[in-house]
């Protein structure tokens, strides 16, 4: 059963149609990857799914409910969490505070918002700790985010998404700018999370995509040009042409 679905989703920026009639179905529990050349519209698709801006036309269904046009802060509460292609953390916060504030947002109750201490929320604190542990940063929880290396910042980026305990995890190029060694660790991490969450993964590195995905959708100039299992995509002629710089059929 599809947990997250789009129907003819379209987003235009003036004359440019960044996402063009995309219909996608992400099965519950699966890892669904989205690939495509630079500027294909992958990040824009994530922005639509998470309510950063509303689509020009089309629909988004989450768990059979129409969530089209729901603003970002509300989408998070529905159980969709994302990470960013360009690291988007809270620089002057400790790592713990980074995940704590994300965990609190989706907490059961905001009672005591103005007067309780942050340490009074045991469930939130537990979830925050767990998120840091999941990405292997628990040893550095008191360090400031801006003092981290790029690789560790990418891990924190993911931890912030995890802290919300989402139902669907949208990861936008988690391995962007990582060294080969760091990439290996990130791939292992994504593999470990597979099955625990329904995941949508944007990635450029083909070897990663082919080894972790259940299904792959290929975007080119805003449109979906192919969808299938890793084996099917590898054989697809349109996909090869798109990646070699040719025009899609």
């Amino acid at each position: 059963m599809a947990l997250l679905e789009t129907k003819r989703l379209t987003k235009s920026f003036g004359a440019l149609t960044a996402v063009n009639g995309v219909s996608l179905a992400v099965e519950a529990g699966s890892l669904h990857s989205i690939i495509g050349p630079n500027g294909a519209g992958k990040t824009t698709l994530f922005n639509l799914l998470t309510g950063t801006f509303p689509p020009t036309s089309g629909q988004i269904l989450f768990d059979q409910n129409d969530i089209t046009g729901t603003p970002a802060s509300r989408v998070a509460h529905l159980g969709l969490a994302r990470s960013y292609q360009r690291t988007t953390v809270f620089p002057a916060f400790s790592l713990f505070d980074n995940v704590w504030v994300a965990a609190f947002a989706t907490g059961k109750s905001w009672k005591g918002l103005l007067h309780k201490k942050t340490s009074d929320y045991a469930e939130v604190t537990g979830r925050a700790r767990q998120a840091l542990q999941d990405v292997g940063l628990e040893q550095k929880s008191t360090q400031l985010a801006r003092q981290l290396s790029h690789g560790e910042q990418r891990q924190l980026e993911l931890a912030i998404a995890l802290a919300a305990a989402p139902r669907v995890l949208l990861l936008d190029e988690p391995a962007a700018g990582l060294s080969p060694e760091e990439t290996r660790r990130m791939v292992a991490l994504v593999r470990a999370l597979k099955g625990r969450y329904t995941m949508v993964l944007i990635e450029h590195k083909m070897d990663i995509i082919m080894s972790v995905s259940d299904r792959i959708s290929v975007m080119h100039f805003g449109s979906l040009i192919a969808e299938g299992t890793p084996a099917e995509i590898q054989k697809n002629a349109d996909v090869r042409r798109a990646y070699l710089g040719g025009v899609a059929a």
Partner: protein
């Protein structure tokens, strides 16, 4: 971190020995004003140039109610806090959708709107002459006409305000506002309605400004037109930045320095704001954390020297 609190307590006791009680009271009143302004400036990262809107509105309304309707001091405080919060809600509502320079200009423009209303409405505000005749009504049999007793009253309310602001900044709200300052996009994405939280910061900060406004009117027995002007809005930002906008105690120290300097210097040298200008430039260029940062830097430097 008991040290800052102890220092403040000592200052409260020693201050009336050094300066006139009126000046001493003004310092703590201005500090309350600064606490509220810093919730926006330091914690949420919003540079509001319209804080005197809430301070002045509260001073006028509560002052008028004491003067004309003879309400007691307690009701006056409640009214002032309410007016401060309400006017901040109205101004905040219009401002939180904007960002950057537009936000700053809008807080300033709305402040001007309130200012000219007060300027024109002479039958109530007295316009340029100010609204005189604000009494200092008694409360539970305590007569505040004695300047030292009023000073004690102001000091108590300041301590209460400081305690409340400490709780707020250590609460989830404090964390969320700082998260908005650090990264608005991510704060929204993890599930916070950013404009609504900014509005909440306005309202809470406005309530503190309102409290300060009433105490100010009662202190001097008059609401001068400046109390709602951009001069006061600028002063509180100024004092907060010099003290240190990044911390709870920054605006308290800033108020101390600012009021003391302005009272002692203005009689000696009419051009003294020049000094403030220089101090301001120095802080912005070299000392983003204000005097609080200078203090911590000094101590880390000293302790590192002692270790050698």
């Amino acid at each position: 971190m008991k040290k800052p609190f102890l220092l403040i307590l000592i200052s409260i006791f020693l201050l009336p020995l050094v300066v006139r009680p009126a000046i001493a009271s003004e310092i703590w009143i201005f500090a309350i004003f600064g606490l509220g302004a810093n919730l926006l400036l330091g914690y949420t990262g919003l540079l509001s140039f319209g804080q005197s809107t809430f301070f002045g509105s509260a001073a006028y309304v509560a002052g008028w109610m004491m003067k004309v309707h003879g309400i007691n001091a307690f009701l006056a405080l409640v009214a002032g806090i309410g007016v401060g919060a309400l006017s901040a809600a109205a101004v905040g509502y219009l401002c939180v959708q904007r960002s950057g320079l537009y936000f700053i200009m809008l807080t300033f423009a709305l402040n001007q709107l309130f200012y000219f209303t007060a300027y024109q409405w002479t039958s109530v505000t007295g316009g340029e002459d100010g609204m005189p005749g604000v009494p200092r009504p008694a409360l539970a049999g305590i007569d505040f006409k004695d300047p030292l007793i009023y000073y004690a009253f102001v000091s108590l309310l300041f301590l209460l305000a400081l305690f409340l602001m400490k709780r707020i900044t250590e609460s989830p709200l404090g964390k969320i506002l700082q998260a908005i300052r650090e990264n608005e996009v991510r704060a929204e994405a993890v599930g916070y309605n950013v404009p609504r939280f900014k509005l909440l910061a306005f309202v809470v900060g406005g309530a503190f400004s309102g409290l300060a406004g009433v105490l100010y009117a009662m202190l001097f027995g008059i609401v001068p037109l400046e109390a709602i002007s951009f001069v006061f809005s600028g002063n509180v930002v100024f004092a907060t930045l010099i003290g240190g906008s990044g911390s709870l105690y920054g605006p308290v120290i800033g108020s101390f320095v600012f009021i003391w300097l302005s009272e002692s210097m203005s009689t000696v040298w009419a051009r003294w704001p020049l000094l403030l200008g220089v101090a301001f430039v120095l802080v912005v260029m070299f000392l983003r954390g204000g005097l609080v940062e200078a203090w911590t830097r000094f101590w880390t430097w000293r302790s590192s020297k002692q270790r050698d």
